[in-house]
Amino acid sequence: MFRGGWLAAGIGLLLLFPLLSPDAYLLDVLTTGFLLASFAASWDVVGGVAGQVTLGHALPFGAATYACALLSRLAGWPFPLAAAAAVPVAAAAGAGVGLLAAPLSGPFVALLTLALAEAAHEVAAGHAFLSGPGGYAWGGEGGIPVALPWVDAPPFASYYAALGFLCLTTWAMLRFSRSGTGLILRAIAGSPLTAQASGVPIVRYKLLAFSVGSAFAGAAGAGFAAHVGRATAGDLSLELSFQAATAAAVGGRGTVVGPVVAALAFHALLQGLSLPPAVRVMAYASILMVTLRFFPGGVAGTVREIAARLRVREGSRRSRGRRDRVGP
């Protein structure tokens, strides 16, 4: 089946799923999975297409969830307006990180982004206003609730809205990665020296990648805030950053669709296993290291490589067979 066929079949299956299994818990798991898959694809714009391996991508995601909560609850903005404003807030947060990270390369980008996101997470987790537990005026469960225009959204509606959001954002990110700008970002990821010698202002383009990737992460964050109904320090957590990076590495960096599939699979698997957060982070970090070391092309890249080797082997076997028939 051609590649688009697999994709269409997958989307068709997901469209039918609520009709086949209308279990509210499963629908909730998948709804969250769709939003996190879109977030993983947004990591791929920065870390895969542009090659800037960030370990702090939760920062723009969390900035967007908090922007949604603060603007809708404190400033009294209607939720759609707050969600729309959260996207440029996330892009600005990403641009700020990009300003610091763009002159760096390789592991220094990973270390800096990890440190910045963890600092933001610590601030949010330790601040009574942002994460006040229990009795604080925000109400009971910690974090800041989002003022949503609905009280209890039916699981079907959330499921289909999140699926539509995933399809739309993935399509937009694919378009971006295949555009002229995406080509230049892939050049920078491959060889920054040759790209610069070809006239590419690499710092400016890296900054652009951070901003665009963060804007998409912000859109996923706004969707997540709408689904969960509150912004918490967990939205800035190390686990989210590692989850996105690992999904992209396993799914195939720079492919956009690969990270979406891998993120959905990881989310479903880890929800089923019910592991504590610290173990999940360890699991993601271990998978990330093993993948980057032994399968740098991810699942998609490894399958392509094996298929290419098999084709070469088959080709040489056939030509040997022809030589044998012709004789000396």
């Binding site: 080509l183 892939r186 491959g190 040759t194 790209a195 010698a197 070809s198 006239g199 202002p201």
Partner: protein, 226 residues
């Protein structure tokens, strides 16, 4: 002839070692110049400083009368100073055609940011460099000879007025060397492109250049007109 590039008192050091020391040189418009010298004399460092890959510790560089001393390599490329590398660094996943699109779109960045060069422009350049039939091959799969040809084509994409060619003919077959030399001569004669050709091969420099500079221990010791 009108002066194209003027470097005055250029100095550069690495880890406390002076690699270039008070280098002064001038290249006229359309002038073919050779740079010769033993290993470690500072030839590649001079190419790096003139192309903007590294900034000098002292001295100044002017291009067409404009001070470019602090401009980075990409900005100098867009002004018309292009270079090739002694060891090519190909894009691992991009095809030859895509690599040329990157160079052409960046060359016109001021007018059409992110836009790709036209197909005809790219194919014309690849045909001239003898890479037309490899245009859909990933750069990382090219042979050394083809990689050098691609370096050449890439450097021509901005319509350069000065080409800095660092050991571009090393490790090439005789046929590849002849082809690239013909391409260089045609860019020089028809396009009026000046070049600074760095090589260990004195015979080659004598055949391609009008003037040869001899660099030793970071200083230009001699200059000879061919």
């Amino acid at each position: 002839m009108k002066e194209l590039l003027a470097a005055k008192g250029v100095a550069s050091s690495f880890d406390g070692t002076r690699v270039l020391d008070d280098v002064t040189l001038s290249i006229a418009q359309g002038e073919p110049v050779g740079l010769y010298g033993p290993n470690g004399s500072g030839k590649t460092t001079l190419a790096n400083v003139l192309s903007g890959l590294i900034l000098p510790d002292a001295g100044s560089i002017a291009f067409e009368g404009r001070d470019v001393t602090r401009l980075p390599m990409d900005a100098r490329y867009r002004l018309g100073i292009a270079r090739t590398f002694q060891i090519p660094h190909p894009y691992p996943v991009l095809t030859v055609h895509e690599a040329m699109r990157v160079a052409l779109s960046a060359a016109g960045a001021g007018k059409r940011a992110g836009s790709a060069g036209s197909g005809e422009e790219i194919e014309g350049l690849l045909s001239r460099a003898g890479l037309f039939y490899q245009r859909f091959v990933p750069c990382a799969r090219l042979s050394q000879g083809c990689l050098r040809r691609l370096e050449f084509a890439r450097s021509l994409a901005c319509g350069p007025r000065l080409l800095i060619l660092d050991e571009v003919f090393s490790a090439l077959s005789a046929a590849d060397e002849e082809d690239l030399l013909a391409l260089l001569r045609s860019a020089n004669r028809e396009g009026g492109t000046a070049f600074l050709l760095i090589s260990h091969n004195l015979r080659l420099l004598q055949s391609a250049c009008r003037r040869i500079l001899y660099l030793e221990e970071g200083r230009i010791r001699r200059e000879r007109t061919v």
